[in-house]
Amino acid sequence: MSVLPPDMDAAGFAAFLEELRGAVGADWVWSGDADMFPYRDSFSPVWNTDEERHASAAVAPENVEQVSAVVRIARKHRVPLYPISTGKNFGYGGPSPNVNGSVVLDLKRMNRVLEVNNERNYCLVEPGVSYFDLQRAVDETGNKVMLDCPDPGWGSPIGNSLERGVGYTMPHFRDHFGSHCGMEVVLPDGEIMRTGMGALPGSDTWHEYPYGFGPDPAGLFAQGNFGVVTKMGFRLMPMPEYYRTGLITVPRRRDFIKLVNHVNYLSDSGLIGEVEYGSALRALMGDRDFLALITKTGGPSDAEMDAAASAAGLPSWQVELQFFGPEKATLENWNYAKDRILSDIPGAAAVDGDHFTMPATEEQLNNTTQPWQTSIKRRRSLGVPSLGAWKIVRDDGHVGFFPVLPRTGEAVFEVQRVLGDAMKEFPSLPSYFNALSTPLFWHTHTFQMVFAPSIKHDDPEHNAITHASMKKCVAVAAEHGWGDYRAAPIYQDDVSDTYSFNNHILRRFHEQLKDSIDPDGIIAPGRGGIWPRRFRA
C-alpha cells in the first residue's frame, strides 16, 4: 500500500527523502510498507479499505532546530507533514494522517522533561514525553505534585492536550489543554514562536501567565493545523495531603435532576474532584424484561422505572464523590455534600468510603475496600499513570464519539432517549444509550456521554456497521445540539460540518487563516476539518 505525497512522483519523493535524511540523519527517516506499518491506525474502522489513510514516510527530528529544518524542506517540496507525539491515540485515528501520502513528523525523540517546579507547580515538557516519563521526573523531584493523567500512561501530555484530552482529578486540571500555560511552536514557514510570556525575552513567567499581551493564538494549535508544538508548560496540582470518597444514592428517577445540580455546585465551588455517576439498577440488566424496559423506543416512563427500582429495593441513581486536600477539609467538604443533598432529596442516602493519606499505597491504588461496588479507577483518579484501563477494550479496538451536552439531568434523559432510539438502526451493537446511561463529568464544566463501537481487523462487515453508526450518531446528536469534542481524521470533516453557525463561518475563518499562513497545506491539511486552498479545489 505504498503511497506518494500529493502531486509528487517517485523521483521527487526520493529527492525529498534524501533532503530529510540530510536534516535528521539517515537512521531517522522511514518509508515503504514494512517500516510504515506501525504508522497505520490499528484501531481503524476502515482498516484495509479504500478509506484508510496511509502515510508515505516518517521522519523523526531530535530537536526544535531539526523540526524547523524538516518543515522548510517540506514547504519547498509542498509535502504535507502530519505531526505526532507519543502514545497510540487509540480510537482517534492513531498516527494516521488526514491526507494520503502525508509524511508523519514523529516527535518521539524529543523526550525531555525540561522542568518540574515544585514551588510554583508547573512543568515544561517536549512532545515525546509520556505521562510515565513525567511521573518519573516528578518522582525524582520528591513527588510533590500530582499529575492528571488520561487512561493510558503511555500518552503524551502535549499530544493529549492538543487533542483536548481529559484526566480525572480536580476540575481545572482535568481539561488538559485548559491547564496548559505557554507553548513553543514551529510555524508552517519554519519560524519558531513562543506564546504568552514566552514572547517576552528574559521573562520567568512563561508557565504562570498564559496570555502575555495581545491576542493569544494558543487555541489554534489544539485540534488545528497551524504549527508544530515543540514545548508546552502545564500547571500541576500540589500533592494533596489527603483523599476521601463518599457515595450518595437517590431513590427515584427524577431525583437525578436535583442530584446533578448539587454535584455541579460542589464541583464549580472547587470542593470535589471527578465524580462517577451510575445506577445500581444496572445489576438488573441480565433480566430480559428489565432490559426491554430500559431500551424501549421512546424511553420508559418515570413511573415504570421507579416501580422497577422499588421492586428490586434499589436506588435509581448514585454518584461517587472524591475529595482532595487537607484531611479536615476533605471531611468537612464530604459532610457538607451529604447535608446539602440529603436535606434536599427525600430518601437520599450517603455511605462513607475509603479515605487515606496521600500518596496512596499499592493496596489503596487497587481500590478493593470500598463498601460499595465502585466505578472509580483509583490510579487515574489519583493521577498515577498506568495502562490498566485497557482491560475495557473489546475485540481489536474501538472508535469513540463523546458528544458534549448540557450539564443537566433533563439533557441526560433526552440523550438517552434520542440516541438510544437512533442507534436501534444498528442492533448488533451494544446499547450505549438507554435509560440507565450516565454522563461523564471529565472536562471542567462539561457533560459528555459515550459511544464507542468496536472494530475487528478481519471482519469488514462489522467495521462497516461501526463506521456507519459513528456517522449517524454524529449527525443525529448534532440535530439536537450535541457536538463531538474530538474525532479521528476519517470523521473530522463530518464533525466539523456540524459546527455550522452562520454558514460555517467558524470553518471559513479558519480557512482564511490557513490560506494566509499555510496555503500549500504543509502542516496536517484537513486536521480539525480545516483545508487550505490547495486541497479545497
Binding site: 517500516d35 506501525p38 523523526a60 498516527p95 499505597t361 493496596e363 498515577v384 495502562l387
Partner: protein
C-alpha cells in the same frame, strides 16, 4: 515499617503468577541483560508484567489458560523473531511499536532479555506505580 509491609504484599501478589515457573527469581539479573530488561520495564511491563489485572497479562492468561505463563517475563518459549514480529506488528488491539519508541538496537536487547535463561533475568520487573509506592513509602520512613 510501612515499606516492608508494602514490599511483602507485592511479593506475595507476584508470587501467585511467578511460582509456577520459578520461585527463586531475585536480584538484578545478568549485567549483559540490563539494557533489555530496561526496555521491557519501560515498554512491555505496563501491560505484560506479572500482575493478573493487566490487560496483556489477562489476555495471555485467557489465551493459554495456564499452559504457558501469562507474564511475558516468565516465558521460556519465545524466539527473537516472534518477539520482533509482535513488537513491530502488534496483535489484536496491542498496537505496533515504532522504531522511535523501541529502536532496532533496543529490540535486539529486549529479545536477548526475553530469551535468556530465567535464572539470568533476575527479579520480576515492577510497574511504575509499584516503584512509586515503594519510593514514597521508603521516603516516609526517613
Amino acid at each position: 515499617m510501612r515499606y516492608f509491609v508494602t514490599a511483602l504484599g507485592l511479593a506475595a501478589g507476584l508470587a501467585g503468577i511467578a511460582a509456577a515457573q520459578d520461585g527463586s527469581r531475585s536480584g538484578p539479573g545478568a549485567p549483559e541483560l540490563q539494557e533489555g530488561k530496561a526496555v521491557y520495564a519501560h515498554w512491555c511491563a505496563p501491560c505484560h508484567a506479572a500482575d493478573p489485572g493487566l490487560a496483556g497479562t489477562l489476555a495471555l492468561q485467557n489465551k493459554y489458560e495456564g499452559s504457558l505463563p501469562a507474564a511475558l517475563e516468565d516465558r521460556t518459549d519465545l524466539q527473537p523473531a516472534v518477539i520482533s514480529y509482535f513488537v513491530r506488528n502488534g496483535v489484536a488491539w496491542m498496537a505496533p511499536f515504532r522504531p522511535t519508541e523501541i529502536s532496532d538496537a533496543e529490540l535486539e536487547q529486549l529479545n536477548a532479555y526475553l530469551t535468556a535463561p530465567l535464572e539470568q533475568r533476575g527479579a520480576h520487573t515492577q510497574l511504575l506505580a509499584q516503584e512509586m509506592v515503594r519510593k514514597s513509602a521508603a521516603g516516609g520512613d526517613q
